[in-house]
Symmetry: C2
Subunit: 220 residues, 2 copies
C-alpha cells in the first residue's frame, strides 16, 4: 500500500506531534502543524485510519500505529538524508534546507536513498542535530537537554536545535552558536530567564529564555 505525498506529510506531522508515537494527537494540532483547516484534517484522518497507519477514534484524536510509525520514520529518514546532502555536498546553509527537503523526501526510490546514504557515508545526524533513522526505522537517540534546563557552572556541548526555522538558525549563525560548540552556563537571570553562556571557552553569549529553550545540549 502506497501513500501519497499529502498522506506522507500528515503522517510525519502526526509522528512528530505524538512524540514518536507516545502521545495521542488532536485534529486541531495536526491542522496547526500542516497549516490546513480542521475540516480537511478530519477527512484525511479517516483515510489514514482506513489505511491503518493511524488508529482514529472520532472526537478523541489519533494514535499512530506501528505500521504508521515505520512509514513516518522512512519519510523522516529521507528528509534528513537530503538535508545532509544539501549542506555537506551542495553548500546549503542549515537554514536553507528545510523547504527543499520537504519536497525531496517524497521521491520514491529505495535505491536512491540507499545510494544517497552510502554517498554521504551513513550520517547519523542531520544538520540540525536530529538523528537519522536507519533503513529499518531504528533511531539511536542521544540524551539531550534544553540549555534552559542547565544550571550555572554546568558544561556541555550543543548537539541540536529544537526550532529549525530560518529565522532562528540565522540568529544562531549571527551570534556564533553552532552544533558541536562546547558551552558552559555562566549565569541565569532569575527575572526573565535569560542566560549567559560561555562558548568554546572564549566567547560570552547572552540569550533570552526563548532562545535557550530551543538549543539542545548533552551535558558533560
Amino acid at each position: 500500500m502506497v501513500l501519497t505525498t499529502a498522506e506522507e506529510n500528515y503522517l510525519k506531522a502526526i509522528y512528530h506531534l505524538s512524540d514518536g508515537g507516545t502521545k495521542s494527537v488532536s485534529t486541531n494540532d495536526v491542522a496547526a502543524q500542516i497549516k490546513t483547516k480542521a475540516a480537511s484534517v478530519s477527512d484525511m484522518l479517516r483515510k489514514l485510519g482506513e489505511k491503518e497507519v493511524i488508529e482514529y477514534r472520532k472526537y478523541y484524536g489519533v494514535n499512530i500505529t506501528e505500521e504508521g510509525k515505520k512509514r513516518a520514520l522512512q519519510t523522516i529518514r529521507k528528509h534528513r538524508l537530503w538535508e545532509v546532502f544539501l549542506v555537506d555536498k551542495l553548500q546549503f546553509a542549515w537554514d536553507e534546507v528545510h523547504e527543499v527537503a520537504e519536497e525531496l523526501e517524497h521521491i520514491q526510490s529505495p535505491l536512491l536513498i540507499q545510494r544517497l546514504d552510502e554517498f554521504l557515508n551513513y550520517p547519523k545526524f542531520d544538520p540540525h542535530g536530529d538523528p537519522i533513522p536507519d533503513e529499518f526505522g531504528d533511531v539511536r537517540a542521544r540524551p539531550r537537554v534544553a540549555l534552559i534546563e542547565m544550571d550555572i557552572d554546568q558544561s556541555g556541548q550543543i548537539v541540536a536545535v529544537k526550532d529549525s526555522s530560518a529565522a532562528f538558525l540565522k540568529y544562531l549563525d549571527k551570534v556564533g552558536a553552532y552544533i558541536g560548540a562546547r558551552i558552559k552556563v555562566l549565569d541565569k537571570v532569575e527575572f526573565d530567564g535569560s542566560m549567559e553562556i560561555l562558548v568554546d571557552q572564549k566567547k560570552t553569549l547572552f540569550m533570552s529564555k526563548d532562545v535557550a529553550a530551543n538549543i539542545l545540549a548533552i551535558q558533560s
Copy 2:
C-alpha cells in the same frame, strides 16, 4: 506564473515531439507520449494555451511559444543534471535513472539546480549523450547521425542514444556498446538493414537496423 508537475510534463512532451519547437504537435501524439487519453490532453492544452506557453488552435494541434520553450528547457535541464548526478555520484546504471529523474526534475529550487550544476562540474551532456541546456536554456547541439545512416568504411564515435528505455540500454551494455566508443562500419546487409560494426578497433558487433537507428554517432 508557476507550472504544476503535470503541466511541466505535458510541456516537456510537446517540446520533444515538436523537435524543439520546430513542428506542430497533435493531440493524439501528446496522448501517446504521456500515456493519457486524448480527452485529457485536450483539456490540458486549453489550460497551457491560457498560460501562453503553447499556441492552441482547436483541431489543428499546438505550437510551443518562446516562453514555453524556455520553460520546457528548464525542466529538461533539471532532468539531465539529475541523471548525471545519479550516474556519476550515486553509481546508478544509465538504464536506471530515467524514472527517478522524471520525479526529481519537478523539485522547485533554483539554488538547488545551480549548486547541483556546480557540484557536477557543469556537465554538458547527460548519461545518454543528450545535451544539457544552460541556465538560459541555450543548448549546444552536436551534429549527430544515426549509425544506420553511415556508410561502409566510415568511422566515428558513439555520442548518444535515441531510445533511453531500460531494455535498449541494457542490451547495449550486454553487447558492449557505450557512449564514447570508437566505431567503424564494416558491413551493411542490403536484405534486412542490419550492420556489422567494429568497436574500439577490436570487437565486432552485429546489430539489427532497429538498433542501428537508435545509436547516434559523430563521424570522423
